[in-house]
Structure formats: structure tokens, C-alpha cells
């Protein structure tokens, strides 16, 4: 009789043989596309970047699916937003990965939000306020100044975890920082017309963008963070806009556009889809494209009427 244990052993052995390390490059596991793109900028050919989510997925709501566990298992460096953005899936992913290098507190675990000044830090923690994040608003990637800060920290981290190539990473960092500073100077002057413009957001996802551009958020379509817009709340926003008008309504590429479109139709303000991260729109092919496309969309919406 075939012993069950023998069957399992027979199944396992060929899999062990498949398990030959395939890459020599530093394996970076990025939770969101913006960090994947940044790691690629700073690592170049030295890194093998795999991104856990796409721009069309809500980074709050991801499952610790088998493919992600397998990739976290062989990662040398995990680059995520932190600030509890990935709290529903990353802890279980890291626990199941059996990879000591990438556990919280290890050099192989990088949380971008640790290196920027966070906005919207709640004074009171209560779920009746919706899906609030104790550490503050986690959507830090909508401000290019944050990217500059994270880039510096990530560049240094890459030098630390892959010390043999430290000089190369330092070179990439200098090169990127220079190109980024120049791009920011350009964006800052281009974005001048957006200063002081009043806007409505679908989700409280753009506080850093508004902080950068000096835009004013007058209303949010979600009644509470993470709670779908309701008909009654949309009516309230519509009434509110009569006294405090807004110029446009912003929503992220991964979000259902219907609430913003409804407002657009009823309040006569353009609904603007912003890429939110790399890959969110055709124009947002890389980090530079992300901001160029965001600005272009905001400027053309602001120029209407």
C-alpha cells in the first residue's frame, strides 16, 4: 500500500529542486506602485522589483494571497507606505513569509511614511469616525516633496542592505535627487494657477497634494473615511457647494467614479480622475509622469469655465 507520507514526500522533492535561487539582484518587494517605481529609480539594474498591488487596486483592501506570500518569502527588502495603510494584509503576509529579513524593525523592512511629516493625525481614535489611521493620513505619495524625502531614506537603506553596491546606490540617489529637484522647480511654477483653488475629494486621499499645491479641500464625498458616499451625504455636499463653491472634484484611478461624476453633473464642476500612483493613468508611466499627468489634469480642469 502507498503510504500517504510517501506521496507527500514524492510531491515535495521535485518542488525542492525547482527552488533554486534565480536572481542575484537585490529582491525588492514593494507594496504600492510608487515605491516600486522609486526603488527601480534608485536601484537600477541592481534590484529586481516586484510590486504587490496595481494602481487600480485599493491599497487598504488587499488579501494576503498565495502569490504575495511567495514573493515576500524571497524578498531582501520590503518597501511599503506604513502608517497602517497595509494593516489589513501586510502583517499576515510577513508572518506567513517565514522571512526574518523583512520583519518589522529589521533593515529589510522599510516604511516610507516614517520619513515624512504626516498630516491628518487624529486627536481621537474611534471607529465611529470611519477607517481612521492612528499614525495620520497614509497617502503621502501625492506630494513630490515627500518622494524626495523618502528617496533619500530609501537610497540609504539600499546602501545598507546591499553594502557591496553602496557606491552605485549613492550615485543613483544623487542623480535621481537632482532630476527630481529640477522637476519640482518646473512643477512648482507650472502649478501656480492652482494655488487657493477650492476642490472636493472623493476620499481623504489628497491632503498631501493640497498641502503641496495650496489647494483647499472644501468637502469630501465619503461621509467618513473608507465609507462609501451615500445619496444623502452627496446632497449635503451639493448644498454646501452653493455657499462654498469648488472648482473640481477629485477621485483616484482605483475608485468608483460615479459619486464624483454625479457631483460633476449636478454641481457643474469637472470630475478629475487623478492617477494617485504610478500606472493610474496612461500618462503616469513613472514617478515623473505621475506628477506631470496629475498637474496637467488639474490645470486643464481648473482652466474650464
Amino acid at each position: 500500500m502507498i503510504k500517504p507520507r510517501n506521496v507527500l514526500v514524492a510531491l515535495t522533492i521535485p518542488m525542492l529542486l525547482l527552488a533554486i535561487p534565480a536572481h542575484a539582484a537585490l529582491r525588492v518587494f514593494a507594496c504600492e506602485p510608487e515605491w516600486g517605481a522609486l526603488a527601480q529609480e534608485l536601484g537600477g539594474k541592481l534590484v529586481d522589483v516586484s510590486v504587490a498591488t496595481s494602481a487600480l487596486q485599493d491599497p487598504h483592501q488587499i488579501q494576503a494571497k498565495p502569490s504575495l506570500i511567495a514573493r515576500a518569502r524571497s524578498a531582501d527588502l520590503v518597501v511599503c507606505t506604513g502608517a497602517e495603510l497595509e494593516i489589513g494584509w501586510l502583517p499576515v503576509l510577513l508572518q506567513q513569509s517565514g522571512n526574518a529579513k523583512v520583519q518589522p524593525g529589521q533593515p529589510g523592512n522599510f516604511a516610507a511614511a516614517d520619513y515624512v511629516h504626516k498630516l491628518d493625525v487624529p486627536t481621537q481614535l474611534d471607529r465611529s469616525q470611519g477607517d481612521v489611521h492612528a499614525a495620520g493620513n497614509p497617502h503621502i505619495q501625492t506630494d513630490p516633496r515627500n518622494i524626495a524625502l523618502v528617496a533619500t531614506a530609501l537610497g540609504v537603506r539600499l546602501q545598507q542592505v546591499d553594502a557591496a553596491n553602496a557606491a552605485e546606490y549613492a550615485k543613483h540617489l544623487t542623480d535621481f535627487s537632482q532630476r527630481w529637484q529640477q522637476a519640482m522647480t518646473r512643477w512648482n511654477s507650472e502649478a501656480a494657477p492652482l494655488r487657493g483653488v477650492a476642490v472636493v475629494s472623493q476620499h481623504k486621499a489628497f491632503v498631501y497634494l493640497y498641502d503641496w499645491l495650496g489647494m483647499k479641500e472644501v468637502a469630501v464625498l465619503e461621509p467618513k473615511p473608507g465609507v462609501e458616499p451615500t445619496a444623502s451625504h452627496l446632497q449635503e455636499v451639493l448644498t454646501q457647494l452653493k455657499t462654498t463653491p469648488a472648482r473640481m472634484a477629485l477621485y483616484s484611478a482605483y475608485q468608483d467614479p460615479r459619486a464624483a461624476e454625479w457631483l460633476s453633473k449636478n454641481a457643474g464642476v469637472p470630475a478629475v480622475k487623478v492617477p494617485f500612483t504610478v500606472g493610474g493613468t496612461d500618462g503616469a508611466k513613472d514617478l515623473f509622469g505621475l506628477y506631470e499627468d496629475t498637474l496637467q489634469r488639474l490645470l486643464s480642469a481648473g482652466a474650464q469655465k
Binding site: P4, A70, Q96, G98
Partner: protein, 468 residues
Amino acid sequence: MKRFSPAMFAAALYASAPLSVVHAAATTANAASTTADEVRAIKQELDALRAAYEQRLQALESRLQAAETANANAAAVASAPVEPPPAQAAATGGANAFNPSMSLILSGGYTHTSQDPQSYYLAGFQLPTDIGAGPGPRGFSLAESELGLAANIDPWLRGTANIALEPDNTLSVEEAYVQTTSLSHGLSVKAGRFFSSVGYLNSQHSHTWDFVDNPLVYQALLGTQYSDDGMHVGWLAPTDQFIEVAAEVGRGRSYPGTDTDRNGAGMNALSLHTGGDVGFSNSWRAGISTLYAKADDQQLTMLGTNGTTINNSFTGTTRLWLVDAVWKWAPNGNAIRTNFKLQGEYLHSKRDGLLTYDLTGLNLTDAYRATQSGWYVQSVYQFIPHWRVGLRTERLDIGSTDFGNTNLFALNNNDAPRKHTVMLDFSPSEFSRVRLQFARDYSRGSTADDQAMLQYQMSLGAHGAHAY
């Protein structure tokens, strides 16, 4: 790549600027005899030239400055230790700062059945009385409230406990284990009480189930859900394809084992799971597992031919095989608006040993061999945000229950237990859910039990991350 050198570029420009001015001056000298108008025009031209150069110089200077700052920043950070800015890293202190994260699940509901749950049995199966099979009490009732505590113990270990507060005011330790966090090579070790990782549904807590109750086959062959006291070693293959092997040894504390005082292990289990993605929209996991358990004087009840309950005792071994598969779909992997989940499991059990039949009557002991199996298939579809609908169909196979060369159950397999369930649930947020479920349950064979259940499930406190 050759790097741009702003300093060199600026120096070149500084050098060329005076040359241009000299050239301009020479032009002016040649035109000394021309009229005052022409002089004025040339002066203007010169001014324009100077202004243009000043502008270009300013631009270059600012670029140089930016580049220098970037260099300086990089250099400064490179030499500094890699620490987050202190202002952001400040954690709140105090004696409670290291308290474990805490979560509480509150659950309860209302049950209506057309048959008396007291008379519940699984036709063609003998089960222990204490596993809680069947639809549970009728009317309003509180379900199990689950208190969860978890924290890192030290840099190498993490501890988790799930305490079940039963509606009858008793308390039970559902899970309590320590787990390694730093073994690497894809290895992890768990020790304590935990749900076995065999199958798909077995390791999932009841508040994550997609239906109010778990499938009949889990009730018939795993005592609703198999948890044990022991050790678990898991290994994840270093491949892009998810391949996970888990081996467990344990006390064999619950059905199909018995909580017997013995040296060595009363249970061992092995499971192999694999999975992956198909495009952005699909993900899957499938596996095969086996569990072996020893039973000593296991008290079982069955329904006799005249409708009375017969108490038996089993001593022997059980070999269980499980095959499980789950497939999940969401458009672009974004499950917010719509998503779909299909899962199914097949369980096969072989029991071998001695059975004492009718302890209070005949009290007859003889060899017993039973081969029984069952399966379920279920799907859940979220058709709009917050709303899901689910369907489940399942069937058990009585198989052969050979007791001293006669069949223990005089039953036709057409009367095997089967059940069809439909459910609708609404989740206002990811922390709350209300569910309505209807089932036509043929657990008793030919007699249908129509069940209607209304259930709520709420999660308080720490944001527990769920397994796939």
C-alpha cells in the same frame, strides 16, 4: 552613465560671457562715427544682451545650488545612521505601551428550524455528543464571543491567544500559541493550541466563514473544526509559485482523536498547498492534506433502527484525507465593488479498530472498519459594495461501516445527509456584518429540516489581518 557636472558647465559659461561682451564692444568701436541714434540702439542691444546673460547665469546658479544641496543631502544622510526623524518616531510610553493588541468578536442571532434541533443526527454517521453538530438552539441566542490577544514576545517570538466566551457562560481556549518570527529560509514553528492547517476552512475562525455554520462534512469527519495541542512546522518554498508544506504533531485532543493521557503523539498531520495568480483578476490556492489520529474509548452516538439513540465506544485509528481548492476573482484585483469566490473541499476518512456497540444494552465488542467521505462546494458573490450572496451545496457518503462483518447502518446511500444553503449578507463596514441564511438540511436522511438564520458579527478593537 556620465554624470552632469554643473560646476564645469557654469565655469565654461562664465568664461565665454566676457568674450561675447568684448566682441560686442569691438562692433561698437567700428560704428563710432555713426549718429547718436545708432549709439542708442547699440546701447539698448548691449543692455538686452547683458540682461539675457544675467538671466541665464541666475538660472544656472540656481541649478548649481540645487545640485549641490542634493549632493550634500545625500552625503549627509549617507553618513547619518538610518533612523526615522525623531519627531515621527516618538511612541507613547507608559506601562500599557507594550500591552498586546486586543480584539473582540461579538456574534449572535436568531434561528428558526422546522425540526427540533434536539433530535438532530447525521444519518449513517456516529458522532461524539460534544462537538456541537447541528443548527444549534432555536430562537434568539448569543453565539461565541471571541477575545483575541496578540503581541511580539521578543525579537524571535510572537504570541497569540483566542479565548472563546461561550453563550452558556463557560470559557474555552480556542487557540493559544507561540510562533517564531525570525527563523528565515521560509520556516516557521508554532507551539501550543491551534487550528490544524489541513484543508482550507479548518484554520479559519468562525467569524470569517461565509455561512453561519460550517459544512456537514466538517461536522461529520473533523468534529466541526480540528484544533489540537501540539507543534506545527511550516515551510515555504523559495519559488515564485506559492508552495507551502506543513507538518503537525499533537495530542489528538478532539474528534477524530481522543484526549487520552499517553506518551508520544495522538495526532500527526501533513499538508501541502500551492497557489498563485492568473492575471490581475484571479487568484487561487489548492492543496492536499492528511491527518492521522488515535482514539481510546471514544464515546459516540448513533441512531438505531427503531429511532432510539445508541451509545457506542470506539478504540482505534483514523486516517483522514482532505483535498481543498479556492478561487477568487475581482475585476483588476480590486474587490471593493464586486468579487467572487468559489471553494470546495473533499474529505475522506478511514477508521480502523474495535467498536463496543450499545454500551447500555447489548454491549458487543468487535472489529470495526469504516470508510466514509463527503464534500461541499460553495460560492459567494459580492454584486454591489457591501452586499454578498452565497450558495452552498454539500453531500456526505455513508460508505461502508463494517462491524464484525455486518454493516452498522442499514441505510441506503440515497438517504445520505445532504444540504443546500443560500445566504445574503450586508457589511456596513469591514468591521460589521449582518447575514440572513436559509437552508434545506437533509442531515436526518429523508426528513428535510428547513432552517432560517439571522446572524450578526461585529469586530471591535485591533484590526485583525485575515489569511487568504
